[in-house]
Assembly symmetry: C2
Homo-oligomer: 369 residues x 2
DNA sequence: CGTAGATATGTCTGCGCAGTCATGACAGCG
DNA sequence: CGCTGTCATGACTGCGCAGACATATCTACG
C-alpha cells in the first residue's frame, strides 16, 4: 500500500524510522524508548523523545499489535441499556483500563440480539483484544465464555466460576438482598414482597435468592414474586397489581427504578409510603435521595467492583501462566432513608386499609408521622 | 516474533494462507472473498468460506489495519458520567457504528482531566481510528478538534461548525428551551426562573440562551440564574436558595435530575409543586413520569441524533473528498405532565406564600450528598 | 589483568494482511 | 479471426513495528 496521507495528499505521518534518523539512532532503539525498556542511556532517550515530539510522531498501534501479538485493548460486552448500574460499571471499567494502559472496545448486545453475547465475544476476539469484560451477564452468557483470552464477568458474585479462564467480580448480591429484606422484617413487617428483575439476569436471580433466604431463615411466608424489567414503568405496573393485595406492607424491589415506579403506583392507589407500605430499592441511584419519599436502598460500589475486576483481568492478561486470582468481594451498604417504616398498626388487613384518602388538590401526600 | 499460541502453547490461530491452502487458492483470493470484492467465482467463494469456517479462521484486524491504513474503528470521547443523556447518546452511537461495520473505541475524559479532550483525541488518533465522535462537548473542546480524521460533535445544535473536518449533530436546544419557557409563560406565570447546568457545557449555554430569548421576546424580567452541575444534589441546593425568593412561581431546570432535586427542596421548604411553583425539566429521563409529581419536561431524541450523526460521520470517512454534510436537526417534544400549572392566585407574593406548613414529623432530613 | 556479567545499541527479520500489477480465460464485435 | 474489454486469479511486495540475536562497551572482582 501507499503510506497514509491527509485527504489533500499532504505529507505522510512520520514513522519510527523517521524519528530514528532525526535522533541519529536505529529504529529499534526508538522502539525501546517508546516502550520504556531498560538499557537505554538517558542521553539517547532524551534525543529520541525530542525528535519524536518535534516530528509529531505517533506510534502506530496496528503495527505494534501485529508485531507483538498484543493489542493492549480490552473488549467489553455491555447490555444496551442506559440503566445506572451497567452505565456506572462501564465508566469504572474504562477508567481502570486507561489507568492500566489499555484501550476499550465496546460492543453492546441488546438482549436477544442475533448472536448475543457469543457473537459479541467473537467479534471482539477478531479485533484482537487481550481480554474481555462481560458486564452484568444474563442467562445464555455462561457458555460462550470459553475463550482464548481471559474473561472478567462483572456483576456476578465474587468467586463465581463460569469458565476456565474466567474471573468474576461483583458484590455479594445475595447478602445484600438478605440485608434489605431483614431490614424490613426487623421493622416488624410480617413478611416482605419482592419485585424481581427479569429472570434471565444473574443479578435478578441473586437478589431473588437472597430475599428467599431471609424469609426462610425466619420462617416467614413467601408471597408470590412480581417480576419487572428493571424499568420504572414495569415497577408501576407491578405496583398496581400489588396494591390490590391486602397483605401488602413491605416490598423489596430489585432496583431503584422499579422501586420508584412501584411507589408511584402505590400512591396512585391511595397507599402511603412508608406509612402503609414500606419499600426498599437496590443500587442507590443518584436520584434515590431526592424522590419522595427518599428511598431506602442498598448501595453497590460500582467503581470499586470495576476497579478490582479490571486489575485482576490485567493481571491475568500479563501473567498468562499464573493461577487465576479471585476477587475479594466489596463492602456494601444499606442506606436507610424514609421509604421504610414499621408496618401500620392494623397490618392484618381490615377495611380501613383501602379507604381512599381524599387527594383533592394534593398530588404529593406530605409525609406525616 | 513467534505466532500467537494459547497459554498452553497450543496450535497457532489459522491465518489467511492456511485457509487459502485448504481451499486450494491463493491468500490474495481469500482476502478478496473476505472483503466481498467483485470478480470472485461463486465456486471459489463457497470453497473459501467453507474452509475458513472449518478452520475457525478469524481475520486479523491489526494486520488489515496495517496493510490498508484503515482500522474500521471509530473513537468516542465521552464525558465520564452516568447521566442519562450522555449514556443514551453513547448507546445510540455504538449501535449505529456496529450497523455500519465499525467498532468503537471509547475514552472518557472526566471533566478537567489531564489533557482533557485534546489528549483523548490524540490517544484515539494513535490507535488509528478512522473518525472521532465527541459527545456533549464542553468549553475547551472546540480547539483541538482540528484533526486529520473527520469529527462528529454530538449534542451541539445541528449545523454548528467548530473545525474544518467537523460535523455537528444534535437537537436545537435553544428552541427547546424556548418552548419549555413559553409553556410556563403561557400558563400565566409572570416570569420563569432558570436552573442552569455548568457554564462550560455547550448544552447548558444553549438552554440558558433559549430561556433568555423566550423571556426577552415577551419583555419579561430575567431573574438571576441559578447554576447546578446536572446532579439532583445540586438541584436540591439551588432549590433551597430559590425557595427563599418570594417571586418564585416557575422554574425551568436544564435537566431532569436537577428538576427532581429542586422539587425535593421546594417540598421540604413547604412549597407545593405545581400549586405553588411549577417546574419543567429537560431530557425526559425514564423516571420522569414516575416521580411525584410526574415531571413536565422536554424530550430529546437521543437515538435519532446519534443515528443521523454517525451516518454522516461514516459518509465523511468513506468519501474523504466530498463536502461535509450537514445534519438536519431532529424533531422534538414537550411532554406535559403534572409538575406545571397556572401560578397561584396571589402570585404577586404576599405573606401567605411563606406560611410555613407544620412539618412536624417530617421524616426527610435534607439529604447529604 | 583477564574474564564474567551488566549495560547499551544495532541488524535482520517477520507478523498477516491488502495494494499493485501481471496473467489467463473467455465473450463480443466488426 | 484478431482485437478489446470484462472477469477471475495469482505472485510479489510492503505497511511499521517488536522479537531474536549479535555486538560492543563498560564495570567488578579475583
Amino acid at each position: 500500500m501507499t503510506r497514509a496521507r491527509g485527504r489533500d495528499g499532504g505529507p505522510a505521518a512520520p514513522r519510527g524510522v523517521d524519528v530514528a534518523r532525526a535522533a541519529g539512532v536505529s529504529q529499534k532503539t526508538v522502539s525501546r524508548v517508546l516502550n520504556g525498556e531498560r538499557y537505554v542511556s538517558v542521553d539517547v532517550r532524551r534525543r529520541v523523545l525530542e525528535a519524536a515530539d518535534r516530528l509529531g510522531y505517533r506510534l502506530n498501534t496496528a503495527a505494534r499489535a501485529l508485531a507483538s501479538g498484543r493489542s493492549r485493548t480490552i473488549g467489553v460486552v455491555a447490555l444496551g441499556t442506559a440503566l445506572y448500574g451497567p452505565a456506572s460499571l462501564l465508566l469504572g471499567v474504562e477508567r481502570a483500563a486507561r489507568d492500566a494502559g489499555y484501550a476499550l472496545s465496546v460492543v453492546n448486545t441488546l438482549e436477544g440480539d442475533q448472536g448475543g453475547v457469543g457473537g459479541a465475544v467473537q467479534s471482539l476476539l477478531e479485533r484482537g483484544v487481550d481480554g474481555i469484560v462481560v458486564s452484568e451477564p444474563i442467562d445464555e452468557d455462561a457458555d460462550p465464555l470459553a475463550s482464548e483470552v481471559p474473561v472478567l464477568v462483572l456483576g456476578a458474585p465474587a468467586g463465581t466460576r463460569t469458565g476456565e479462564r474466567t474471573i468474576a467480580a461483583g458484590v455479594d448480591s445475595e447478602a445484600l438482598a438478605r440485608a434489605a429484606t431483614e431490614h424490613l422484617l426487623d421493622l416488624g413487617h410480617p413478611t416482605v414482597h419482592h419485585l424481581a428483575g427479569p429472570e434471565r439476569w444473574f443479578a435478578a436471580r441473586d437478589r431473588l435468592a437472597g430475599w428467599r433466604q431471609a424469609l426462610a431463615a425466619r420462617g416467614r411466608e413467601q408471597p408470590p414474586v412480581a417480576e419487572g424489567d428493571w424499568s420504572a414503568a414495569s415497577g408501576y405496573a407491578a405496583g398496581r397489581r400489588l396494591a390490590a393485595r391486602n397483605d401488602l406492607t413491605a416490598v423489596f424491589a430489585a432496583n431503584d427504578d422499579m422501586a420508584v415506579g412501584l411507589i408511584s403506583a402505590l400512591t396512585d392507589a391511595g397507599l402511603r409510603v412508608p406509612q402503609d407500605v414500606s419499600v426498599v430499592g437496590f443500587d442507590d441511584i443518584p436520584l434515590a435521595a431526592y424522590v419522595r419519599p427518599p428511598l431506602t436502598t442498598v448501595r453497590q460500589p460500582f467503581d470499586a467492583v470495576a476497579d478490582e475486576g479490571l486489575r485482576l483481568l490485567v493481571h491475568a492478561i500479563e501473567n498468562p501462566q499464573a493461577e487465576l486470582p479471585t476477587a475479594q468481594g466489596q463492602p456494601v451498604e444499606l442506606v436507610v432513608r424514609s421509604s421504610t417504616a414499621p408496618p401500620p398498626a392494623r397490618a392484618d388487613s381490615g377495611p380501613l386499609r383501602h379507604t381512599v384518602r381524599p387527594l383533592a388538590g394534593e398530588v404529593h401526600a406530605p409525609p406525616a408521622a
